[in-house]
């Protein structure tokens, strides 16, 4: 029988994707027969830009690789530069880094929970979990000054200290999440419709996860106990007990389906709370940054020679940065690898044989971050012209805009 398939494009502009990304599916009835992935709608050429800027400028560029992982990329990047230049981070700085990173994980996982609910058509979950998310954003704003893009990381440490007066506020938030966690678990793991939509959907086997180099909760849900915080502890994680979480802790079995990915993320929420508590208890005193004066730091980096890698377990998986300094103002090489870059390939085995209705939740279950992944260069060859915005133009434009806004 000759099966008549038709193709359906999803993206780049699609309501289930917050970000542009193109999929092409060959559909037979409602079943997916073939998947074509065409990422690249979100390229900004960040690595290329980074190779023309000095390391401190790159921190802010790295922060804007992705607005959700805005602590992860600077974390990994700073580590890479520190490793390359041989800078030692003060202990207190390491602890503050971990606290910020774990607060980000809380915010990111709750955000993901809401998005997953939304993809399932369960908007109440979106509203309730995002209401809970506001609490940690408030705390991050209190600690760093911004809800997103914290700007806390600096090569050699952090820019802002956590004072004694701020600690009760952190503890209050942690207590709040301990209360709320029960509710979120109740919604996700006990609701029959969510179970119906997520169990045995988008299965990724252990072999596929290994072979396709999946990272983060995606790979842990398939039963691979892989977590950079556990395998190669960096920063203050070296002092803390962190164990990779697999879904068998909760349900006693590993299926590698969407449901398992939900379990892993929810359990990591609890883990993050515990890590922050440990950090608060053991926080050493002292300096927060190795070199306070930025000019001096820049000079030091200009003279440095060497290469280093920085790895951080972001909410979505391992972030990997490689930096090579070669006694110049700008790094010779800056390479950034976001978790979604590796979690891209596993989509094909996950999606094959599923239905159209499963696409959003399966794609969302890896918590994709296209902005992270598509950071590489793109060249706009329209008319063969290269558009460069000059600083002067920019200034003029902004002046015009201001005039236009104020009546």
């Amino acid at each position: 029988m000759n099966k008549k398939t038709y193709s359906i494009p999803i993206g780049p502009v699609h309501p289930s994707l917050e970000e542009p990304m193109t999929f092409n599916f060959e559909i037979y009835g409602e079943r997916i027969e073939k998947v074509y992935l065409a990422p690249g709608d979100n390229h900004r050429g960040i690595e290329f830009m980074g190779r023309q800027r000095n390391p401190i400028q790159i921190i802010y560029l790295a922060e804007r690789i992705c607005g959700i992982c805005s602590a992860s990329h600077p974390f990994a990047f700073c580590q890479a530069v520190e490793n390359a230049a041989g800078i030692e981070v003060p202990e207190r700085g390491q602890y503050i880094r971990v606290i910020i990173a774990e607060l980000e994980r809380i915010h990111s996982h709750i955000l993901w929970a809401g998005i997953a609910g939304h993809e399932l058509g369960f908007d109440s979950v979106l509203y309730i979990s995002w209401r809970a998310r506001e609490e940690v954003l408030d705390l991050l704003e209190y600690l760093t000054g911004n809800r997103i893009n914290y700007g806390v990381f600096m090569i050699g440490g952090v820019r802002r200290d956590i004072s004694e007066e701020q600690i009760p506020r952190i503890r209050k938030t942690l207590e709040y999440y301990k209360d709320v966690y029960g509710k979120i678990e109740d919604i996700f793991l006990k609701d029959p419709t969510i179970a119906l939509r997520t169990k045995n959907v988008g299965v990724l086997t252990k072999e596929d996860a290994l072979r396709l180099c999946a990272v983060g909760p995606t790979t842990r849900a398939s039963g691979i106990k892989k977590d950079v915080r556990q395998d190669q502890p960096y920063s203050a994680y070296a002092d803390l007990e962190v164990k990779a979480i697999t879904p068998d802790v909760f349900s006693g079995e590993i299926n590698g389906d969407v449901y398992d990915r939900i379990i892993v993320r929810l359990l990591e929420l609890v883990q993050s709370i515990q890590i922050i508590e440990q950090c608060l208890e053991n926080m050493p005193s002292g300096e927060i940054v190795a070199e306070k004066k930025l000019v001096k730091l820049l000079n030091q980096l200009k003279k440095a020679k060497g290469e280093g890698i920085g790895r951080h377990e972001a909410p979505r998986g391992e972030v990997f940065h490689y930096v090579k300094l070669a006694e110049a103002e700008v790094p010779e090489i800056w390479k950034a690898r976001a978790p979604t870059y590796n979690n891209l390939m596993p989509w094909a085995p996950m999606l094959l044989g599923e239905q159209i209705a499963d696409i959003p939740i399966v794609v969302a279950s890896t918590d994709p971050c296209i902005a992270c992944m598509d950071r590489v260069t793109i060249l706009n060859k329209a008319n063969g012209r290269k558009d460069v915005l000059t600083k002067k133009d920019l200034h003029e434009l902004s002046v015009q805009k201001t005039r236009r806004i104020t009546p």
Binding site: S7, P9, S16, E119, F122, D123, L196, R197, I356
Partner: protein, 336 residues
């Protein structure tokens, strides 16, 4: 029905216009209440109750875009068909003590047929718009239609059959007749359980008929970007919105007429105009309660089902519940 005078026709026309207007207004009003309630249950403030009216007026002045590869007359005709057919059903539905305007010209079987028309309008519009999303949405809508028809008919037929057993002389499928004789009073304990099961069946069909979560696969926003409606804009979208609002009224009044046709006027010892007003108000309250249970609450408490899960749900559990209800009512009648 026998003598058709010019005056009678005039009255009917005026009545139809009034009912259509009221149906639209009440429908939009209930939509507003529904959105407000849902927002409240989701810990939000929610839009003002008059929001659907404002949305409607706004959409009416928006540009109406007909896609390049659409069939224009079908594309533009589909929303009108959906709206007109849902208003037509309204004319067959009794409100409180007032018999339906077209009482005698058709019965509940006709209503069941008419109920499919708005859905068919949407399917036609979806196919005519020539977008792959709308296509998938239209296919899903057809699957849905085929799925919920059996339980819907089961629920209605069971009631009609019971009436025919008790009152063999009456036109048992006339809604006016059903409306005047509540099912709960006619059955024994076994039949009572059966009637409850039938009510559950109808309650399960309602969200499907109205394309609301968990049965909103045809319009799934996160999957199909609005599904059938993806290519519609401006006036056509507004008309579909109206059709949806009117359909809500239709399904609610159908449920009320079939299962809760009680009136309040004789309890309050009212008569004349006051009785009429009290009954109509009571009817609206009943509709509101039914809507709250069947639409608003269900909408916020469930995730969307996949289309195969939807048709499974309708063909197996819901249909079984419906048939069980039918059997219980039959048993009840035979034993008694």
């Amino acid at each position: 029905m026998t003598s058709i005078s010019l005056f009678g026709i005039l009255i009917k026309i005026i009545g139809a216009i009034v009912i259509a207007f009221l149906g639209v207004v009440i429908g939009l009003f209930y939509k507003g209440i529904d959105r407000k309630l849902a927002a409240r249950m989701q810990a939000r403030v929610g839009p003002p109750i008059r929001q659907p009216f404002m949305d409607f007026f706004k959409l009416m002045i928006k540009e109406n875009i007909v896609p390049q590869n659409a069939v224009p007359w079908i594309f533009n005709g589909a929303p009108i068909m959906a709206l007109v057919s849902s208003i037509t059903i309204l004319l067959y539905l009794p409100v409180g003590n007032i018999p339906p305007l077209l009482s005698g010209y058709g019965d509940i079987v006709l209503i069941i047929y008419l109920l499919t028309l708005p859905a068919i309008g949407m399917v036609v519009g979806g196919f005519a718009s020539g977008s792959p999303y709308a296509n998938v949405g239209a296919q899903r809508e057809m699957v849905m239609m085929m799925s919920y028809e059996l339980p819907l008919v089961t629920a209605v037929v069971a009631l009609g059959w019971k009436l025919s057993q008790v009152y063999p002389q009456l036109n048992i499928f006339s809604l006016a007749v059903i409306n005047a004789r509540p099912i709960w009073g006619l059955v024994g304990p076994l039949g009572f359980i059966g009637a409850i099961l039938l009510f559950i069946t109808l309650a399960a069909v309602t969200p499907g008929e109205l394309s609301k979560v968990p049965f909103d696969a045809p319009e799934a926003e996160t999957e199909l970007a609005g599904g059938i409606l993806v290519e519609y804009s401006g006036r056509n979208l507004a008309l579909f919105g109206l059709a949806d609002a009117v359909k809500t009224v239709v399904m609610m009044s159908l449920t009320v007429a079939l299962f809760f046709p009680y009136n309040i006027s004789h309890l309050l010892a009212l008569s004349g105009v006051f009785a009429l007003i009290a009954d109509v108000l009571f009817f609206l309250v009943k509709m509101f309660l039914v809507m709250f249970v069947e639409v608003s609450f269900v909408r916020i408490a469930f995730a969307r089902l996949k289309i195969d899960q939807v048709s499974f749900a309708y063909w197996v559990p819901v249909a079984i519940i419906g048939l069980l209800g039918l059997m219980l009512i039959v048993l009840d009648t035979i034993i008694v």
